[in-house]
């Protein structure tokens, strides 16, 4: 990880866009299909563990946590503040720990090893993992405490990872899980016994909870008890886009290193991608406002019908373990940690917060870079630009073109068994026949079961399919966002002047910074990267002052900006809604239903094709972008958070989005 010398962004490493590593993937199901699952579950399990580990039981960790100076300090503080006896608070802390703590047991692991073998074999064709990644991880686990940071697309993710580590005889991870799982009878306890520990979704104000939780995590890091696993994204991404990182847990796991209680900590980005995501239709429904079914055991049992379905293959790419010590080198001022006893809770300095933020983004960018993309991702992208139908041969042709582009952009395409393009498309369509089908040489939306329904239902069905499809296109967009934004900026400005294009780029980047992952602060680098990639594909030519679209490049520019069109249009519609219909003060909920009501007629009449505006994800992101850009005011009242539109600012932004007025140049633009 060569650190760039620029101030403020030393964690931003120049990526390599050249020929993507074609690591050898190993299919871990292959052996499962050949030998006994029972024997596999009962195998002698002597995992590779941390070299400094002194083994202890899960209960011993709880005791250590409870007796730690850190927790005892907070107990004393609270006891003083509330006039409560310390014993009572201690009791509370014990309860918190009992609710939170994992209780990892080999027995349960073996049970999972057996059942998951069966389940995975029915669900998936293959579970592939990069062998080199496993080797590096094996090394890392022995050297220092390890934090596993997988992408989060499905509930399967953590089961998959534990299963994987079991298969390769590596120390099983402890996993930070949402407390909602505890609502599921049996399952919650089962997960607990397989290494999950549970955190409440919000506990900002609860000092005791925070102290106990943080100490619990840090105790396990310090002792190298087990690899720690959690999801930087905080929750499953329903859209296929990588979510902006949550920093709380990451800063907790880093603290032992900052305080030098450990020599180093490895952070391991892991990308897990599914040919077809189990929850795809659930996600789409949720985005459209059908409430997410509460996690429940009966719900899980009902979901077993999916067992008869085919979900293709899974690819797990274990990235190079990053040494926190190396990342932090030269960035952390040591004095603040030297002058206060280490047990005292200490608000991280701004430097540290920035550092944690940078690392989080860096890791998510690595997750994106290493994410295996299936051909379906390309197909989905093309199909969404050719609704309602496209000629099969044309689709194949376009896909091959997009394949080339993706590879030049550094995409990690996995072509199943090196099929010819025709077969690849056919096979993908077979896997995703719930969305698209092949009819008379044309690929069309599968609208089975929606004939003759009410208009509203038709729109809903259509939106469902498009959102599902969009979640696959978004996987590509994660990677394409920089060149795509440059393309949009080129179209919007209608100018060749680099400076103007950059201004527009920078405006859009800022606007979409909740939608996509941009390394904090470095718009210029993102712009240069986008331009570089486009130049590499002969789409544009860049001179000192100008950007020229190459003759053959205009189709590509159109294609790339079309990838972002749903977002552009959604934001435009939301702007229109806000300026016309929004009340004086409104809540997020009111806005969401308001937008839906506003957009439905547009879609029904066909005056807009932008079904994605119905997605609550886009709506929420737009709202927070508008707050960030001071177009909407956010107010905290006793009844919660309300918002109010600033008309002038909103109109200006809307005008910029509609290219009615040029984007105002950011003062600091330096090219």
């Amino acid at each position: 990880m060569a650190a760039a010398p620029q101030r403020g962004s030393p964690l931003y490493a120049q990526k390599e866009f050249t020929s993507k590593k074609r690591d050898d993937f190993e299919d871990i199901l292959e052996e499962r299909r050949q030998s006994s699952d029972l024997r596999y579950a009962m195998k002698c399990f002597n995992p590779v563990v941390y070299k400094g580990l002194s083994p202890c039981k899960p209960s011993a960790i709880k005791t250590t946590v409870l007796q730690s100076d850190q927790v005892q300090y907070v107990i004393r503080q609270l006891s003083k503040e509330m006039g409560e006896s310390p014993d009572i608070i201690q009791e509370e802390a014990t309860e918190i720990l009992d609710e939170m703590g994992h209780n990892i047991q080999t027995r349960t692991i073996r049970f999972f090893a057996l059942t998951l073998s069966k389940v995975f074999k029915t669900l998936f064709r293959k579970i592939c993992v990069n062998g080199e990644g496993i080797q590096k991880l094996q090394q890392a686990i022995q050297e220092h405490p390890v934090v596993l940071l997988p992408s989060h697309r499905s509930y399967m993710d953590f089961l998959m990872l534990s299963y994987l580590l079991y298969t390769y005889d590596l120390a099983l991870p402890v996993i930070a899980a949402g407390i909602d799982f505890l609502g599921m009878r049996l399952v919650g306890e089962l997960l607990r016994k397989s290494g999950a520990f549970f955190m409440r979704r919000t506990f900002g104000g609860d000092k005791l909870y925070w102290a106990v939780f943080a100490e619990y995590v840090k105790t396990m890091i310090r002792s190298g008890y087990a690899p720690m696993e959690f999801f930087l994204e905080g929750t499953r991404s329903r859209t296929g886009k990588t979510l902006t990182p949550k920093l709380g847990l990451l800063s907790i796991v880093m603290e032992p290193f900052f305080k030098r209680e450990v020599f180093d900590t490895y952070l391991v980005p892991i990308s897990i991608s599914y040919d077809r995501i189990l929850e795809e239709s659930l996600y789409a429904r949720e985005l459209l406002g059908v409430p997410k079914p509460k996690e429940s055991t009966s719900g899980l049992l009902k979901a077993r019908k999916i067992l008869s379905d085919d979900f293709g293959s899974v690819h797990i790419y274990i990235g190079q373990p990053l040494s926190l010590r190396a990342l932090a080198s030269g960035r952390i001022d040591r004095r603040p940690y030297n002058l206060i006893p280490r047990y005292l809770p200490q608000r991280p300095s701004e430097d540290i917060q920035d550092f944690v933020n940078d690392v989080a983004y860096k890791i998510e960018l690595l997750q994106i870079e290493n994410m295996v993309l299936s051909p379906w991702v390309l197909i989905a992208t093309i199909l969404l630009q050719n609704l309602p139908a496209i000629d099969f041969d044309l689709l194949v042709e376009k896909m091959l073109w997009l394949k080339g582009l993706t590879q030049t952009f550094g995409g990690f395409l996995e072509w199943p068994d090196h099929l010819c393009a025709n077969k690849a498309v056919t096979s993908c369509l077979a896997l995703h026949s719930n969305i698209f089908i092949l009819v008379n040489g044309h690929v069309v939306l599968n609208d089975k079961g929606s004939e003759g329904g009410a208009m509203e239902e038709l729109v809903f069905k259509q939106a469902l399919a498009i959102l599902m499809c969009g979640s696959y296109r978004n996987q590509l967009l994660n990677l394409f966002v920089r060149p795509a934004l440059v393309s949009v900026a080129l179209q919007m400005t209608q100018s060749f002047r680099k400076e103007e294009v950059y201004s527009c780029f920078s405006f859009l980047r800022d606007l979409f910074s909740d939608e996509f992952i941009f390394f904090p602060g470095i718009a210029v680098k993102d712009f240069e990267e986008g331009c570089f990639l486009l130049t590499k594909c002969d789409i544009i030519q860049v001179t000192a002052q100008e950007i020229l679209v190459a003759e053959k490049g205009s189709a590509a520019v159109s294609f790339l900006s079309a990838m972002l069109r749903p977002f552009m249009e959604s934001y435009q519609i939301i702007c229109r809604y806000l300026s016309k219909e929004a009340k004086e003060a409104f809540t997020e909920k009111q806005m969401i239903s308001g937008i839906r009501n506003f957009a439905f007629p547009l879609l029904e009449t066909g005056s807009s094709q932008c079904y994605e505006v119905l997605s609550s994800d886009v709506q929420k992101n737009a709202l927070s972008a508008f707050v960030r850009l001071h177009v909407v005011d956010k107010m905290k009242t006793t009844n919660g958070v309300t918002y109010a539109v600033k008309k002038d600012a909103l109109n200006k932004t809307a005008d910029m989005l509609d290219s009615r007025i040029p984007v105002i140049k950011p003062a600091t633009a330096r090219l």
Partner: protein, 632 residues
């Protein structure tokens, strides 16, 4: 002038100062028969009576000491005809003994081999020595003072360095770019005043020199210094001026070296109890100038606790307090500008130190702990109960094995059998892992009954932490390691092994993390820099305080196959210091800053702190006469 605790060897076996010194070099020189100790005016008396000085170390140091290594000419480790390591000379208890396991340890630890040798130059080539620049007017003024001086190349080279690794390597293989132009030997305070006056008059640079045991590059002459550099050797100011038995103090000239001071006081039944490991060679003035620490500080205190009064000559004049009150509230203590000033303000000439009756009884001891963590916990408890013996040190496993390698050939089958039995008891019966266990060495001092009582108290605490008493021998050998280490380095240098020691002080709760992280950092840095064989990276806790501990590191590696070993070594040393600071450790506990650690001073004492020191320097010595450029 700098006194560095473990810059090298004091005869580590810390028997009472008296016993300890008897086996030292002192009596060999027959100086005990020279009773002219207590002269009211040594400067005059010496000159008039022409009596030989009582000093162990002669004016021409090269007559007694190695010119390119540590210690006495006749004392060194050699490989004898059988290929076993042997220590020569009769000055130390170890003299003449064969150390059968050491060779194997060296081979195992460093991958060193007897076949790969790199020998230093045999003698100093006088032609390589930079010429002496001193103008005639200055020399005339100097001669007028009748103070002894020399421009001899050997004398000048001898005072151009301390004992850092790079300095020794220069002596072995190269030559310093800048060395003193002239060496002067003032005989008393007044002589120093005269020299400083002359230096000020001609705007020359003075670098004070005491025992030459610095390990902070403090004695190195700044290359850019264009003025004549005068090395002010205090070694002839070596008299005890008076002893005050009512107040238990003694007035001593600052050039006296530790062994002479203790020996002479012992003749009157007293001691200072200040025993830095370099005490054979380091001087009282050097201790003051570096804020030295002694092995037995738990009883006697560090130098800042021992000093009652002192006198320093600066270009601005002489600074001293008006009385010898034991404590004063008269603003910030000006003594603390002088202690640790590393020769940038002036020369310390006379010091009143506390003295104590020589203790009646001394006893070594040792405790084995199952691991380092338990050992540190025990030391912390001992410190908490404030019952630390005169000395208590905890060696990590690597250092325990190092110490073990210095075991002499056993005299009889019986001893060997007994050793075997002990080993069996600890490793098999008690289940201690020989590659994990660690050893604390102890030294008790006082009247017999109290020592035995104290001993029991400490062993009882140790038992609570799983510690097992492991005998007096092990304890004594532990202390031996600290004095032979510098001699051992010279042996290592002959076989491509370079090494150094460094120290820090750190709050109790960070001791374990600091030890682990610094050792690991050294190993990693070596690996990254291409060192083929894993280095020796070991530490011990050498002093305990109420609020923390002093930790001492040894670090050495085999540099065969590396292009620029010294460069690699310096990078690793810097990394290790960075690691110490990041772990909440101090820049130095007692070695001082010199020029070696200057880069971290600002971070250590803040901008304002540095400014305060600078303004004192500006006032006391505006023309930078004391121009060794240490500290600031």
């Amino acid at each position: 002038m700098a006194a560095a605790e473990e810059a090298g060897g004091a005869p580590g076996s810390a028997s009472s100062a008296q016993r300890r010194l008897r086996v030292l070099s002192g009596h060999l020189r027959g100086s005990r028969e020279a009773p002219a100790l207590l002269s009211a005016s040594p400067c005059g008396a010496q000159g008039a009576a022409g009596l030989p000085g009582p000093a162990t170390i002669p004016k021409r140091r090269q007559e007694l000491l190695k010119w390119n290594g540590w210690g006495y000419n006749d004392s060194k480790f050699i490989f004898n005809k059988k290929g076993q390591v042997e220590f020569t000379g009769k000055r130390y208890r170890l003299g003449g003994t064969v150390l059968p396991i050491l060779k194997e340890w060296m081979e195992k630890t460093f991958g060193a081999s007897l076949e790969h040798k790199t020998l230093p130059r045999a003698t100093l080539n006088v032609n390589d020595v930079p010429p002496s620049f001193a103008n005639e007017e200055f020399l005339q003024d100097l001669r007028a003072t009748k103070i002894s001086y020399s421009q001899d190349p050997e004398d000048r080279v001898f005072r151009a360095h301390g004992h850092c690794l790079h300095e020794i390597l220069v002596l072995r293989e190269g030559m310093f770019k800048r060395i003193p132009d002239i060496v002067v030997w003032p005989g008393c305070h007044e002589d120093v005043v005269k020299i400083v006056e002359v230096a000020c008059k001609h705007n020359l640079c003075i670098i004070p020199f005491g025992g030459g045991t610095s390990v902070s590059s403090a004695l190195e002459c700044p290359e850019e210094e264009k003025r004549t550099i005068i090395s002010l050797d205090t070694s002839q100011m070596n008299h005890i001026l008076w002893i005050d038995e009512r107040n238990l103090t003694a007035r001593v000239e600052a050039g006296i070296v530790g062994q002479d001071l203790e020996r002479q006081l012992a003749e009157r039944g007293y001691c200072t109890g200040h025993e830095p490991d370099s005490m054979e060679f380091s001087s009282l003035g050097g201790w003051v100038a570096t804020r030295a620490s002694g092995m037995k500080k738990n009883i006697y205190g560090n130098i800042e606790d021992l000093v009652v009064h002192l006198k320093m000559v600066t270009p601005r004049g002489v600074i001293e307090k008006s009385c010898e009150g034991p404590r004063m509230s008269t603003g910030p203590d000006v003594h603390h500008f002088i202690m640790g000033s590393e020769g940038i303000f002036g020369v310390v000439t006379e010091v009143t130190v506390k003295i104590r009756p020589v203790p009646e009884y001394q006893k070594y001891g040792s405790v084995v702990f199952p691991n380092f963590e338990r050992g540190v916990a025990c030391l912390r408890e001992v410190a908490k109960q404030r019952c630390a013996p005169a000395s208590i040190r905890l060696m990590d496993n690597e250092q325990f094995q190092f110490g073990h390698a210095l075991k002499p050939q056993v005299a009889s089958i019986f001893t060997s059998f007994l050793d075997g039995l002990k080993k069996f008891y600890i490793t098999k019966f008690k289940g201690f892992d020989p590659n994990v266990l660690c050893v604390a060495t102890l030294l008790f001092e006082g009247d017999r009954e109290r020592v035995l009582q104290h001993e029991k108290q400490v062993y009882d605490i140790a038992a609570k932490f799983g510690g097992l008493a492991a005998g007096e021998d092990n304890g004594q050998r532990g202390y031996m390691l600290t004095f032979v280490i510098a001699y051992l380095r010279d042996l290592g240098l002959d076989y491509y092994i370079i090494g150094e020691s460094f120290e820090t002080s750190v709050p109790w709760d960070r001791v374990l993390d600091l030890c682990r992280n610094v050792k690991e950092r050294i190993v990693r840095e070596c690996k990254e820099k291409g060192v083929q064989f894993a280095p020796l990276s070991t530490c011990r806790v050498t002093q305990t305080y109420d609020a923390g501990a002093c930790v001492y590191f040894y670090f050495a590696f085999n540099y065969r196959g590396i292009g620029e070993p010294l460069h690699v070594y310096e990078q690793v040393e810097t990394a290790a210091r960075e690691e110490i600071l990041a772990n909440g450790g101090s820049l130095s506990h007692h070695h001082g800053v010199g020029k070696l650690r200057k880069q971290w001073m600002k971070e250590t004492i803040s901008d304002v702190g540095l400014g305060m020191l600078r303004s004192v320097k500006e006032y006391v010595d505006p023309n930078n006469i004391f121009g060794n450029r240490n500290l600031l």
